[in-house]
């Protein structure tokens, strides 16, 4: 069995049947990472000893019924794994080793998954290319001159390059869906409140969601089902009595209604993205879905709204990095206030500073009403747009990103250009809705393109169902 291309479900089944050991699967994954990571920089931390010890222990278990028994998984470095260095892509956390597991990590391990390491990301998940990582950019598996997208770029690379079949990321404004699209894999943002954020390094709390990556829709759905559900450690996480995502994926799209906001894609779309997206709509129509046009009238404000809300919340959340309780401290400072300001000067990178400044401004006296409060009102309108579009429809379809993967360095000089690469992903984030990116069929020799499907709150299962139909069609071509 080729453990680099096998799905998580295939690996788990083979281990259960005794055809391969978890140790062999982990050893293979670790040697692929050792060979490929120096070029691709997908991982900030690799813990081979821990992974192998855990895989051997799993091989000794009589009970091999865990949903992810023996499956290697990569974890974005914004999520805590007890005792494993956690940096969030920043210098300011130093060699921080959290004394606890994120709930999603604990649930993956309880299901038998084997954590191989922590993946690279934009610092505090602030970016769309991993270029804002203090550990250097990750590189696209198909062409190392390109970015894999971000902020969860390392996790997307780990899966796309065949290091691990599945990974976790976090998605605030598109940080799972956009790198999934650019790398040609599946990535999902669950409904806000469906997955615990306990142990996720906080960026913007009204937006942050943990999300799964996989090479198949089924693997991605399985991971979401494993990590989801109420958590006493996270009061924003709701009890999950919604149907499992896995249960829906074979159902096909006949009779489903899917709206397309045509007014958003009239221009500004890369030609290959347009061709692949239109091709995907034809596939869905041919399989019996009803495709029509919808309006999202306030979408033009989505990026501006997102950057005001997210940076304001970040300026509050990142106040905790003060050199007192963990991470890096500038030890030369004479007074407490000097220590704060110097620690943060040396510890944060340029993009984080930019966003903290923007967020502080948006919350400051005299500007709060005009910026933060106004943005939260526009956000309510954006949610209402989606609610109306989804009345009588099952999903809204858009390309995940207006362009395929772009070159490293192409957008770093102009922060606003980088922000605009999130133009289609921030809307569902602001609205709190489930949203998935699934690869579309592309012409031979062209870069991957993702289709984004956004559903009604708590109806994550239906976006997986539509994604699975697109996947079956693409693979049967």
């Amino acid at each position: 069995m080729d453990t680099s291309t096998a799905s998580a479900i295939e690996l788990r089944n083979a281990i259960r049947r005794g055809e391969i050991t978890a140790e062999k699967v982990a050893t293979d994954a670790l040697s692929r990472i050792a060979a490929g990571n120096p070029t691709l920089n997908a991982f900030i931390t690799i813990d081979a000893d821990r992974a192998l010890a855990r895989a051997r222990a799993l091989d000794g278990h009589a009970d091999k019924n865990g949903a992810l028994h023996g499956v290697p998984v990569a974890i974005k470095d914004t999520l805590c794994v007890s005792g494993m260095r956690t940096t969030a892509g920043s210098r300011i956390l130093g060699d921080y080793r959290p004394p606890y597991d994120a709930t999603v990590v604990a649930r993956l391990e309880a299901a038998g998954a084997v954590v191989v390491g922590k993946t690279n990301c934009d610092e505090f998940a602030m970016g769309s290319s991993t270029e804002h990582s203090a550990f250097g950019p990750s590189r696209h598996p198909m062409n190392p001159d390109l970015t894999p997208g971000g902020s969860s770029g390392g996790s997307a690379v780990a899966v796309a390059a065949g290091f691990t079949p599945i990974a976790l990321g976090s998605d605030t404004g598109g940080s799972v869906r956009q790198p999934a699209a650019l790398c040609g894999i599946v990535g999902a943002r669950p409904t806000y409140g469906r997955v615990s954020r306990y142990g996720l390094v906080a960026f913007a709390s009204s937006l942050d969601q943990v999300g799964p990556f996989g090479r198949t829709v089924a693997d991605t759905a399985l991971v979401q089902d494993v990590i989801g559900g109420a958590d006493p450690h996270d009061a924003t996480c709701a009890a999950n009595d919604s149907p499992a995502c896995m249960s829906a994926i074979e159902s096909g799209v006949r009779g489903l209604r899917i709206g397309v906001p045509r007014h958003l894609i009239e221009d500004g779309l890369d030609a290959s993205v347009r061709a692949s997206f239109e091709g995907a709509l034809e596939v869905l129509a041919a399989q019996g879905a009803e495709i029509d046009s919808v309006e999202l009238p306030h979408s033009q404000y989505a990026i501006a709204t997102y950057y005001l809300v997210a940076t304001a919340e970040a300026s509050s959340n990142l106040a905790r990095y003060d050199g007192v309780r963990y991470g890096f401290r500038d030890a030369e400072a004479g007074t407490l206030n000097e220590m704060y300001a110097r620690t943060r000067r040396a510890g944060f990178g340029a993009e984080v500073k930019r966003r903290l400044m923007l967020g502080t401004y948006a919350l400051s006296a005299g500007y709060y009403d005009a910026f933060y409060l106004k943005a939260q009102k526009v956000r309510a309108l954006i949610r209402r747009d989606f609610d109306r579009a989804l009345e009588g429809r099952h999903a809204v379809a858009l390309p995940t990103s207006p362009t395929p993967a772009f070159r490293i360095g192409e957008k770093t000089a102009d922060p606003l250009q980088m922000y605009l690469s999130d133009v289609f992903t921030v809307g569902p984030s602001l609205a709190g809705l489930p949203s998935i990116s699934v690869p579309a069929a592309v012409a031979a020799g062209t870069l991957p393109v993702g289709v984004q499907l956004t559903g009604r709150a708590w109806d994550d299962a239906t976006v997986y169902r539509i994604a699975a139909a697109l996947e079956r069609s693409r693979l049967s071509r």
Binding site: Y192, G193, A331, G334, R344, F348, Y361
Partner: protein
């Protein structure tokens, strides 16, 4: 207002954000924040008459569950202090520079 952001404004925001900035950073941020705020100010064109701002519950999307208030163990103090850049382990305290 956004396009009129001055270097002094940036210094004031930096103080609120507890960030020490170099002269170069202050110059770059004056320009970049001006551009970004001019773009962000487009939200002011939206008609939000009578619209309530979105709150943490995302318009009723997520209702926090109720639970019984049962005490459970917290993280061990030694484990937490061991991550601090300067801790007085025996006393169980984080140590910081003088306040004034």
């Amino acid at each position: 207002m956004a396009s009129q952001l001055t270097r002094d404004d940036v210094a004031g925001i930096a103080e609120l954000a507890r960030l020490e900035l170099s002269a170069d950073e202050q110059d770059a941020l004056t320009r970049q924040l001006g551009d970004i705020l001019a773009y962000a100010a487009t939200v002011q064109q939206a008609d939000t008459t009578g619209v309530e701002p979105m709150r943490g519950d995302l318009g009723g999307a997520a209702l926090p569950p109720w639970r019984t208030d049962t005490p459970t163990p917290s993280l061990r103090r030694d484990d937490v202090l061991s991550e601090a850049p300067d801790a007085a382990q025996a006393a169980g305290l984080f140590r910081v520079p003088k306040v004034l």
